[in-house]
Every structure is written in C-alpha cells, then in structure tokens.
Amino acid sequence: MYTEKVMDHFTNPRNVGELENADGVGEVGNAKCGDIMRIYLDIEGDIIKDVKFKTFGCGAAVATSSMVTEMVKGKTIDEAMEISNKAVAEALGGLPESKMHCSNLAADALHKAIENYRDNHQKKE
C-alpha cells in the first residue's frame, strides 16, 4: 500500500516534537476526522531555521508531516509557501489514491504556520 519512503518516514519520523516560543504555529484537521497536525516554525530573517511537528493520524499523515518538515528546513518562507500537497506526495514516492488528502494536511499545516508567523510579525512591526 505505502512506498518504502512513506514507511521510512512513518517509522523514523524526522523533527517530531514542539518548539517553545515558536515564531509560527499551524494546526489543521480535527480529532473527529481522525487527523490533527500541528507544525512549529522558528524563523530568522525569512529563513526557516527549525521546524517540528506533532501528528495524530494515519500512516500517510505521519509520513507527510515528517516529509514536509524536511522539505522546508533552510528554505525561505516564500519558497515554503510554494510547497504543494502534490510535491509532498511526490517526495514520498507517491501515496495511494485514498490517502492523497492526507498530504493536503501537511502542506496546509505548513502554510498556516507561515501565515501565523506573518500575522505575528506584522503585528510586531
């Protein structure tokens, strides 16, 4: 069902955890649907210096969370905004059709975290 890459990220998820005093936090999904994803960002200038996640969800949800954190580390926030659901799924070597929506969650959580950062940032200015 899942590619080796998915299983690798599921088994050894990268960047699990949270960041105290994160510059941006994004959360999507709800427990009712069986998936919640939260992403924490530390941002310096407009570069993503550190990223962590926590996820309650299926194998694909865990793997896409892990993947997206790997993909954004070191990127600018504009570059990170460009990361699409499809790109996350592709980076994992594909997802089963019925699981494509799980990749939505990861990209959406990331984008929400960046928006959250921009909101905070703009307020500070």
Partner: protein, 394 residues
C-alpha cells in the same frame, strides 16, 4: 521475521486437512457435478457429502443448504431474494446498525428501490434489544435481518428471542452467522431462523465459498440465473473443490469447537487484561464474558490513530485490524463503534485482535511486550496527548 496472525475474523488459513482434500478435486476428481459420467458422479457425490457436513453443523437438513460464493452473496441472496419473493406482501424490512456491509448495503439498495427500512440501534455493548425490534414491527414487515455475532466487537445477539418474535408475526427471519459459526453453537431450530448465512473462509475453509440455509417452505427468488444448479436457487458450475473444503472445515469445526473456545477465551482474556494493565487510557469495546465471542478482543486506545497502530504492529510482524477488514483502507471510523455511541476520536483509535486455532500464549506475550512501546511512541507524536500530559503535570 516473526509473524503473529491475530486477524482471524478477517480470514483464516485453510486447515491442512481441508487443503489436502480439496487438492484431489482440483487435479483428479475434477468432473462437473452436472455431468452424467463417472467424473461427474464422483464430484456430485462429494458435493452432496459436503452439503450434509454443513447441514450437520447447524442442525439443518442438507436439502436446506444452498451453496454460494461466500457470505456476502448469501446475505444478498437472503435479503434480495426475500424482498423479491414477498414484494407484493409488504415493503418493510428491519435490520440493525451493526450489521456487516453485506447486509447494510443490500438493505440500503432496497430502500433506494422503494422498500422501507428500519435500522435498530444497539446499546453501548453493541447488543440489539429485542424490545426495539418488537416496537419496529409493522403489519407490512416482511423481513428481519440481524447478525448472530458482530465481527468487530464480538457481541452475541439475542437471536432466539428475536426469532420467536418474527415467528409470532409471520415475518421471515434472516441471520448472518458468519462470525459465530464454529465459535459458538449455531442451530437453526434453536435460533428460530428461516434463513442463515455462513462463510467458509472464517472457519479454516477456502475463500469464495459460503452457504445460505433456507428453511423448508421459505421461498426466495434467485439472484443469479442460468443452468439451475443448487435446486434452481443458485446457477453456475458448482465450485466443487471449494465446497468440499467447506464441508470438511465444518466437520472439523464441529469436532474442535469446544476445545478451541476454551483455549481462545483464555488467550482473549489474557490479552485484554494485559492491555488494560499496561496501557493507560484504554477502553474495551463490546461485552465481557458470555456475551462475547471467544476469539475477539477490541480496544480503543486514546490519543493514537488505528492505522498507525496497525502499521506499527505490522512492522513487528503482528497482524491485527482496525474496524472491519473491508473498511480499514478507508477513512470512516467503524459504523459499529459509532453505533455503540463511541465518539469519533475514540473510535479512530480502535484495534481488533481476533484469535485463531494456532495462536499461543507466547504470541500474546509478544504482543503485550510490543504494544505498549508502540502506543508510547505514537502518543509522543500526538498533539492530543500533549494536553493530557500537561494537564496531569498541573
């Protein structure tokens, strides 16, 4: 890698004795039972012997057994066949909210085609109330269809009483006994049923074979038309090797049922109590004791999601299921658990272990050793668990 199969409610291995009987009918005694010649006759004879073996396990007459391609087809034949036969008599059908999809989807198909459907709720243990069925009965009720034991939570239903009700009202009564056969006694007279579905691959027989018991005098319209096999109830060249395997599996089930149950109840309780002892925030789904199938363990583990649990167990060679096998690939939480009143997030974290003849205590120990570690790891990742831990520390 070590492999521990704990998904016997999804399907079972074929018993080696069963497989070896079947082999002969694939390669040597391969005749078509409808044929006049020796090859045909030897196949026919074995087919009829299998019919007797199935009948004996459920206390029926062999003539009352119609072989099908499985439990799903038997459920469809019972429900659609009765609806078609009695459509001028009435249009109301009663079922329960914890039925297998083979029953629910079929009833809903009829609903879309002009029938009325009442779906009886269950209590928090997953048991239907006889009272609720009684209240649902209308003058135009033609069929009551409920399961003997539930495939997800193992709850055993008050079939005999519902059957008595149905009989009093002259309503055809169909029971899906796919999960109870071979695990607890199934007797068509004691249960007061008119139609009863059984399936081979849940009792160490081959996949792709099942049967519908049709009480003498009960009329159903066939689903599949053609050569008129199975006393015109189910056309198609008979799957003789499969049917013969099913017959043998029934014979073995009859011999081993008491011993199997005794052994599996012990393992079941060991596993269930072991999980409760070792893991926090766990809830057992379904009834305890006598009202539960001997081989079913179903727990909800809070703050983790079922598929992640399954995958993690799988990597250690442990095969289990979350909800029923048919839906574990999809995103909906089990309709059975929701029907029992579980909220979505708890239903999502449910896990079913279903025991079989070959399981050992040592295998249960292995699961009890691994599962807590898996849950711990997944909970550390879970944003829901955070809050729990934090609120504890406050």
């Amino acid at each position: 890698m070590r492999r521990v199969y704990l998904d016997h409610s999804a399907t079972t291995p074929v018993d080696p004795e069963v497989a070896s009987v079947m082999m002969t009918y694939y390669t040597e005694k391969y005749g078509n039972p409808s044929s006049v010649h020796g090859f045909g006759r030897e196949a026919k004879q074995a087919l009829e012997q299998a019919r007797t073996q199935v009948a004996e396990l459920i206390g029926a007459n062999p003539k009352e057994i119609t072989f099908t391609s499985g439990g799903t087809e038997a459920d469809n034949l019972a429900i659609l066949g009765t609806a078609e036969a009695l459509r001028t008599k009435g249009k109301h059908i009663i079922t329960s909210c914890i039925e297998h999809h083979a029953v629910l989807e079929t009833c809903e198909h009829l609903e879309k085609n002009g029938f009325d459907l009442t779906v009886i709720p269950v209590d928090e243990e997953g048991v239907i109330s006889v009272d609720a069925v009684q209240k649902a009965i209308r003058p135009d009720t033609i069929l009551i269809t409920v399961m003997h034991a539930n495939n997800e939570v193992g709850s055993i239903q008050p079939i005999a009483e519902i059957g008595k009700l149905a009989k009093e009202h002259g309503i055809v009564f169909h029971v899906d006994a796919v999960q109870s056969l071979g695990k607890i006694p199934v007797n068509v007279d004691e249960l007061n049923v008119d139609l009863l579905t059984v399936s081979s691959h849940k009792i160490y027989g081959p996949k792709g074979v099942g049967a519908l018991y049709v009480r003498k005098g009960v009329r159903i319209v066939p689903l599949v038309h053609g050569g008129g096999q199975e006393r015109k109830r189910r056309s198609g060249t008979e799957n003789t090797p499969g049917i013969i395997g099913f017959g043998k599996a029934c014979e073995l089930a009859g011999q081993r049922m008491a011993e199997d149950a005794q052994k599996q109840i012990k393992l079941r309780d060991k596993l269930m109590n072991g999980i409760l002892d070792r893991i926090e925030f766990v809830k057992v789904n379904g009834p305890l004791g006598e009202k539960r199938l001997p081989n079913n363990v179903n727990v909800s583990i809070r703050y983790v999601e079922g598929e992640s649990l399954l995958l993690s167990l799988d990597m250690l060679g442990i095969a289990a299921s979350s909800g029923s096998a048919c839906t574990s690939g999809s995103l909906d939480p089990s309709h059975v658990l929701l029907g029992m009143g579980l909220i979505h997030e708890i239903a999502h974290g449910s896990l079913r272990f279903s025991l079989g003849r070959q399981n050992t205590e040592e295998e249960i120990d292995y699961v009890l050793e691994q599962l807590p570690k898996i849950v711990e790891r997944l909970r550390m990742m879970s944003p829901l668990y955070d809050q729990v831990v934090r609120s504890k520390h406050v």
